[in-house]
């Protein structure tokens, strides 16, 4: 099994640092690259493809240094967000194109066999004779994926490939992609801006923010134990609630509330400003357990999704919190509520650094 190893990759463009000192190891199978739109995911993928030369750092594939290798020489496939196919070629010819462009020519039968294999894998067999423009968006993207997989490249890069598709189609294709890639031995790097996709794949995840790699690990791990506020935000959908708070060794306060709170990480006695974080799903409208902390708030908006309701409330301090409750409930605007949470479910982030000081207890897995 080969690995793609990046060491201290950085990129300067227009005298600005775009990628900072990034090191990562990608194993075969699916690797997820997640982060906001401006994080630099596409730029990093272009570097890995060889379309852009890094300003410094090295790239190693299966032990070989490929930093200076041109893109045509690399064993790389790329799938874009915008369903890119050759418009004047049929689906068959599209899938066959990377095979025909190779140095070592394969026989017509070998090419046809591989194309048919890929078509079957992606459900495209009835469409082989059509042009991409005659297919739906989902089908076009499948053609692009088939074309990317046809040549059994060592590295397959997918840049938010499902972003332009219906959400239901996205669900379906994600499942298909997981089973497709489970058989292939390529190193697949899949980028997305949607946290739910990361949890869906539940595989090795790399979180990027503003050109840096800020955390890597299994998706669920990062979700439960983010190292920083940026990582928590990148992995949270709906967004995590943040409250500014003051903590000393024994109590914590936010808004007008103060409660007993101590964590080994906050052992010092001096009081400190931190940012508390709590997931919408961990705020309730009834006390949960003996340690529940309550706060009063006012309803601003209730959003019903059918399976759950998101209640947007405002605290007296003006801060806003989103509460996710199961099932459907309607709330009158401006209604006063008391909300509860268990301090064990709190995250703590440094108010300036954004680094995680503590995470919810009981998440050790």
């Amino acid at each position: 099994m080969s690995k793609l190893v990046l060491e201290n990759i950085s990129l300067r463009q227009d005298s600005e640092d775009v990628i900072y000192d990034l090191s990562a190891t990608f194993n075969s199978g699916i690797n997820l690259l997640i982060g906001p739109t401006t994080a630099g995911k596409t730029t990093l993928m272009r570097i890995m493809a060889g379309l852009v030369k890094p300003s410094s750092g090295t790239m190693n594939l299966g032990g070989q240094d490929i930093t200076k290798v041109s893109v045509q020489q690399r064993s790389v496939s790329f799938v874009y967000q915008q369903f890119i196919n050759y418009p004047s070629l049929s689906v068959f010819q599209n899938i066959a194109s990377p095979l025909l462009a190779q140095k070592k020519k394969q026989s017509k039968e070998e090419v046809a066999a591989r194309v048919e294999e890929m078509a079957k894998l992606l459900g495209l067999t009835p469409f082989l004779k059509r042009r991409p423009s005659e297919l739906s968006g989902g089908q076009q993207q499948r053609v692009a994926i088939a074309r990317a997989l046809a040549r059994k490249a060592d590295v397959v890069l997918l840049d938010e490939p499902l972003a332009n598709l219906d959400y239901k189609l996205r669900e379906q294709l994600r499942e298909e992609l997981q089973s497709i890639f489970s058989d292939e031995s390529s190193i697949v790097i899949y980028s997305t801006a949607e946290p739910s996709e990361a949890l869906d794949f539940s595989t090795d995840t790399f979180v990027m923010n503003e050109g840096r790699l800020i955390q890597s690990g299994k998706a669920l791990e990062i979700y439960q134990k983010p190292h920083s506020l940026a990582a928590a935000v990148a992995m949270a959908d709906p967004p995590i609630n943040l409250l500014s708070s003051t903590i000393d060794g024994k109590t914590a306060s936010f808004g007008k509330e103060t409660f007993e709170f101590s964590r080994p990480e906050m052992a010092s006695d001096s009081s400190r400003e931190i940012t508390l974080g709590i997931q919408p799903g961990k705020v309730f409208l009834e006390p949960k357990g003996p340690n529940s902390v309550s706060f009063s708030c006012r309803v601003q908006l209730a959003e019903v999704t059918g399976s759950s309701t998101f209640v947007h409330v405002e605290l007296e301090s003006g801060e806003q919190v989103v509460i996710e409750i199961e099932g459907t409930e309607n709330f009158a605007l401006d209604k006063q509520l008391t909300a509860y949470f268990d301090p064990a479910d709190l995250y703590g982030f440094g108010s300036k650094s954004g680094k995680t000081i503590f995470a919810p207890i009981g998440r050790a897995k």
């Binding site: 906001p36 739109t37 401006t38 739906s136 968006g137 219906d166 959400y167 239901k168 189609l169 669900e171 801006a193 949607e194 739910s196 949890l199 869906d200 539940s202 669920l220 979700y223 439960q224 935000v233 959908d237 709906p238 967004p239 997931q279 799903g281 601003q300 908006l301 959003e303 019903v304 999704t305 059918g306 399976s307 998101f310 947007h312 996710e324 459907t328 605007l333």
Partner: protein
């Protein structure tokens, strides 16, 4: 503010050979928020363009506040529309963009300034009034696009055509509830087109699910979720969608390959039907229910998706985070009798289903 009524409105782009929109008759009440939800090509954008007047329907009539506006051009329908990407006049400042619709309607200078300031404050963009719109973030650009619609006091409805398409993931959430709050504050009728169920369900008072040019079911988010009248609604709404299984009904007893699944509450049901139950309503049971093999468990943080298989079919169950089961082992699930349905050959719900009372089937 206005009531919009459609009578037999249908549209074909190729002179009657195929219909992008099948005949639809309905009334849109003043001040409510509606969502048109459906996959690509279901006809939702066609319907939206017919309401706004950008498209004349090949059949049927459109009424706004009782007046027949089928032949009235967009200009005079008092409709505002927000598109998939911010549509702004690049050469004008934000302020001038907002003034534009009023200037074209020859409103007095004083009134224009007053109104623009009012709307800018409502939208929270009064500090950006003198910037060029291209310098703003994409979600604020959409807000300016929306502002051009709100600035006209005679606007009867605002139509949104997948407005969050180009918005950064981080800001989708905030823009969405900002739009909702604006709707609540202004009380204008809103029609919102999207293919994203979360957007539709959280935003609208009433959701119209569309597929292949037809309206499949209209209702509140709750009713669509809890009581899908059509298989498509069960499939399209919910992530993941409803679990379906072909069953044979014999005097309302439902079986699959001879195995008893449950009993339909409607008497005298016979023949081939489909059984449907949402992952959320498959309940782990210790006593009675269907016994499955656990193929895979996905931990999603706040909930778990349990992939189950039995004989020749697979189901997915959505459970609490605390649910534990051994992968490869067996697990028994029952279902909520109010939340399991039987669908006939037309994909319409005909009955609810109670689980069998015997244990470990």
């Amino acid at each position: 503010m206005a009531e919009i009524r459609l009578e037999g409105v249908a549209h074909s782009y190729d002179g009657g050979k195929t219909y992008a929109l099948n005949p639809i008759t309905m009334t849109w009440e003043d001040g409510r928020a509606y969502a048109l939800l459906g996959p690509s090509g279901c006809g939702k954008t066609t319907l939206l363009n017919i309401i706004s007047g950008l498209l004349k329907p090949s059949e049927g009539k459109v009424f706004i506040d009782g007046k027949d506006v089928t032949d009235v051009i967009t200009d005079n329908r008092n409709i505002a529309q927000v598109f998939q990407f911010p549509v702004l006049y690049d050469t004008m400042s934000v302020r001038k963009n907002l003034e534009f619709p009023l200037k074209n309607r020859k409103v007095s200078r004083a009134k224009i300034t007053e109104r623009v300031n009012e709307i800018a404050e409502l939208l929270g963009i009064e500090d950006d009034l003198d910037s060029k719109p291209s310098k703003l973030r994409s979600d604020l650009q959409q807000i300016v696009s929306l502002g051009r619609g709100l600035v006209r006091e005679d606007v009867s409805a605002i139509l949104f055509d997948e407005p969050l398409t180009v918005i950064d993931q981080n800001f989708k959430w905030t823009l969405r509830n900002r739009l909702k709050r604006l709707h609540v504050a202004t009380g204008v009728t809103v029609v919102y087109v999207t293919h994203d169920q979360t957007e539709a369900l959280t935003f609208a008072d009433e959701v119209l699910v569309m597929n292949k040019g037809s309206l499949v079911q209209a209702g509140t988010a709750e009713s669509l979720f809890l009581e899908p009248q059509h298989e498509f609604v069960g499939y399209f709404i919910g992530s993941p969608g409803m679990n379906f299984l072909d069953v044979e009904a014999n005097s309302s007893l439902l079986t699959h390959n001879g195995r008893e699944i449950g009993k339909a509450s409607k008497a005298g049901l016979n023949g081939t039907h489909r059984f449907g139950v949402r992952p959320e309503f498959l309940i782990p049971s210790t006593k009675s229910g269907l016994e499955f093999k656990v193929d895979r468990i996905e931990d999603r943080g706040v909930f778990k998706l349990v992939h189950l298989s039995k004989d020749d079919f697979k189901f997915i169950a959505k459970t609490e985070e605390s649910y534990e089961a051994k992968v490869g082992g067996k697990a028994t699930f029952s279902f909520d009798p109010k939340r399991a349905f039987v669908y006939d050959m037309n994909q319409m719900a005909v009955s609810t289903v109670s689980p069998s009372s015997e244990g470990g089937n």
